[in-house]
Symmetry: C2
Subunit: 134 residues, 2 copies
Amino acid sequence: MFELNRDRGNPVYLQIQAQLERRIASGTLAAGDALPSVRALAKQLRVNPNTVVRAYRELEFSGLVETRHGEGTFVTQDAGEQMQPEVLLAERAAQLVNEAKELGLTKEQALSAVKSAWRKSSKPGKSGKSGKVA
Amino acid sequence: MFELNRDRGNPVYLQIQAQLERRIASGTLAAGDALPSVRALAKQLRVNPNTVVRAYRELEFSGLVETRHGEGTFVTQDAGEQMQPEVLLAERAAQLVNEAKELGLTKEQALSAVKSAWRKSSKPGKSGKSGKVA
DNA sequence: CACACTGTATTAGTTGACTAGTACAGTGTC
DNA sequence: GACACTGTACTAGTCAACTAATACAGTGTG
């Protein structure tokens, strides 16, 4: 069910977090559902319980789950809402707008950049020389 | 001239890199100009020469400067080009388009997200509950 | 309360990112 | 070649991120 890379550079707890987020986004985990207990998931993934805890904490911080000591960890009511594609994209859009304004660009220029990027991403297109992998 | 924070969490070499990028973007450092020597800048910043080297290497990797052993480090011909606001924004736009496609959204939805973000960023606007600081 | 489950807290080991110290190597001028 | 500059390579120390080991604490059922 879960798949983990134990390479350095992409921490296990982030992978767990991401996979749970995907399940919440897809509705596999719905509001009110219990997540696996930290011990159960840790055993399944052959990982320390604390690593699972770390993932759950991240999810809790972003409001997707809530934990009740002694009971378990549960998907919140508005988790599905937060994982709507439009909501997720809104974060990136905010970043882009932020940078555009810092650079002194107009709204039209920002929109134009997106259109252009959309075009380029449809065709493979040859890019100019190198670039950061980031 | 240069200002450094020696806090953990934002490495000195990245700060040097960023400040040099700003000067290239603004034209203070033009194509063909020599950067300060690694020793000179290191002395001025009270930092190890290798830290400056690290910054120069990053700039070289992104094609903004080129180094000539024994001579110095120089701004490349197309550095100014690369630092055009439109070019910089294009990277973010590509990220946004990428995510939009992964989420299965349309071009119109992506554009709409940007417009909406622009609107929200103009007014202070009250946001909903918490959120990642990221 | 005993028990079996749940999450929580404390402590410690490993590892890579970052910075520094110091020696090496190329360029140009005298 | 000597000298004063330039970048380069190697080695080492410090620190925070990540993971684990293990003990602590709450919940619910018999």
